[in-house]
Assembly symmetry: C2
Homo-oligomer: 396 residues x 2
């Protein structure tokens, strides 16, 4: 039986923490054989990221499911020999070191493309392998700040605001996976691999939507607008008796329906709010205060059912507890259980890309450090004696 | 010469506004032939989204570069005939209608998979095609709210905060493109297409990083933490004399270097700040106020050069003006110029996935409404008389 759409694709994964492992998670979820290489003895840094239990990291666990784990010291001679052998059998090499690291180890692209002409080599970096900022160190927040998203997230009267989760990493990892699949497609025509790169700053910049053309065509520098939509009303977050609720009314028909739901059908006739333009122009203070007063009399649950019945787009602000336990999340298999030898039976996020013909899945837990050392070396044809020699050399 | 890695792949694109067009933008940037189908006479709704100039939308323009445009009325008999003929020549069909729409037009998956067994059919939805919320209407903000990201973005003492740009749409579109490439890879082995789907809520949920395991393993519901990192210090945004600046010190070595840069080498010896744990525990109010006092004496430019020289990760908060005009953005070709027949020479975002062997590019502007009607129909083998009959029938 197939493990998924990418069954048979072999990926050598030299990535750490978030963007690279997120890239190879997508590939492994859909059946690629991902061999994760880590520094011997200690593993990559996210093995120490909380939540921790029985000495194992839940952070590492969700991100590295479905992968095989191998220790390898690329500074040792035998380590280099094993790595070269691995690459002979690989379709893809992924890394997210600082630019230049693999060159210094003797595995720069000039070498790789000669020795392994079919190899797809993917690099994730903070600022790319070229350009004046290429050598700058980056964390997710640095790419968010310099990519522009922080300047347009948050409220107008509050400071620039970072996006909670590390979206520079997740976009970069997903773009890398997409670039890898494009390069594999191209290879199926030409027989040749290639080098691809994605930078965290480029990735964030590419998601700024109309903010770019608003500036380059209209000359306006976009500012923070909080939760309200500056061009549609009412389209905002409101405070109910027991929490927050989002409500979006994009058409006159929806507005009229909302006035009924609010028990104020007269509002639909009010010339201050006749068209979307009128509603936007009279949103603050008039319309907003009417909406605020009404929302304050309802609970989140009440608002949710009222709007659902009326077919008006609305949403409670689900926290992690709410969304993890929502029946829809279960129905979508977006939370899955996997048995981990030390963490026990854990719940982690499922597979978001649903291929109905060849479904992806969470088949195995993340590897313990070096769990598949021997299996992988045997697959490469090495003997027990070879392994002893490798150990003596400090290769793993 | 090849147009890119996906040269020769034909995509029939029935998507509107953001997630679907963002998906097919990635495919078209890398050389796929994307035929965008729009309602005759008016086109899709983003043709009316600001910024507008000479009756054309800058929003539509950046998102639909490299695509061909065709009007088609799928409610007319001839329109259905043309659509069926198009699908015979297509590798991929992408749509983001409400679930069930194509079924009602006679092109549900049951029909498609029989008639076009090699077709990859991709659907983007708000909540998916199954599960208790499947029929709910969604905007980006609704998927953000119900996917969990809004609950963990923003400051602890402020309301939940939406991410500025529409990340539910961009993640969904990118996941769709990745799913399509995986399905094409699978087809190259099996000869069979398949149906794939991505929901905006699933997509957001999949990016919540360690927030999920923090809850499922540690039992803690993650809360908003603003711009500071709760586990590292100093790792926060500070207020300079003329703006904001982000600074991240992840190791003791960096901390010691920072103390030198601050001209307060004694701080590195201060037992309150000896280890990262100490710095986190004594961050508020002690360390934060030291950092605030120091940052206030510097301009953003001064801080940027001081930290760059010392190799300490730091970042100004670039706004859209700053980042569009930054020399690094030019060097990375992340802003490109394209000549549009009505908008003139416009600057839009470039291609973030850099394939060095088969580079993607912005080759053509977004199509005017119906610009390629005749070209596409001729490619399908239709005559001028056929076209007249189609027009009379209201097919376009």
């Amino acid at each position: 039986m197939t493990k998924g759409a990418l069954d048979g694709i072999k990926v050598v994964d030299m990535t750490h923490v978030y963007n690279g492992p997120f890239c190879t998670m997508h590939l492994a979820d859909h059946g690629a054989d991902v061999i994760k290489i880590e520094p011997p003895g200690r593993g990559e840094q996210s093995r120490y990221f909380p939540p921790l239990k029985n000495g194992e990291s839940g952070y590492y666990a969700f991100l590295n499911r479905n992968k095989k784990g191998m220790e390898l010291n690329l500074r040792s001679e035998k380590g280099k020999e094993i790595f070269a052998k691995l690459l002979e059998t690989a379709d893809v090499l992924v890394e997210n070191f600082r630019p230049g690291t693999l060159e210094r180890l003797g595995f720069g692209w000039d070498v790789l493309k000669e020795k392994y002409p079919r190899l797809v080599y993917a690099q994730a970096t903070g600022f790319g392998t070229y350009g004046p900022l290429a050598s700058r160190p980056a964390y997710d927040i640095i790419a968010q700040s310099m990519g522009g998203i922080v300047s347009i997230t948050g409220f107008p009267d509050a400071p620039p605001t970072k996006v909670g989760p590390s979206v520079a990493d997740t976009f970069t990892g997903t773009y890398m996976a997409l670039g890898i699949m494009m390069a594999l497609h191209s290879r199926s025509k030409t027989g040749k691999g290639q080098r691809i790169e994605v930078s965290m700053q480029d990735a964030i910049f590419s998601t700024l939507e109309n903010a770019i053309v608003t500036y380059t065509i209209d000359g306006k520098v976009p500012e923070r607008v909080g939760n309200a939509d500056p061009a549609i009303a009412p389209f905002d977050m409101y405070t109910c008796s027991d929490g927050y609720f989002f409500l979006g009314v994009g058409t006159d028909a929806l507005w009229s329906r909302l006035c009924d739901v609010m028990g104020q059908p007269g509002l639909a006739e009010d010339p201050r709010f006749a068209s979307n333009n009128d509603r936007v122009n009279n949103y603050i203070p008039e319309l907003k205060s009417i909406m605020d007063d009404w929302a304050a009399t309802k609970s989140v649950k009440e608002l949710e059912s009222l709007l659902e019945e009326a077919g008006i787009p609305g949403a409670p602000i689900l926290n992690v507890d709410d969304v993890v336990n929502h029946p829809h999340t279960a129905a979508r298999e977006m939370i899955v259980e996997v048995e981990h030898p030390k963490l026990g039976n854990i719940k982690i996020q499922g597979v978001p890309i649903k291929l109905h013909g060849t479904p992806g899945s969470v088949r195995t837990a993340a590897p313990l450090l070096g769990e598949h050392n021997e299996e992988i070396l045997k697959d490469l044809g090495y003997s027990d004696e070879d392994m002893k020699a490798f150990r003596d050399d400090g290769a793993f």
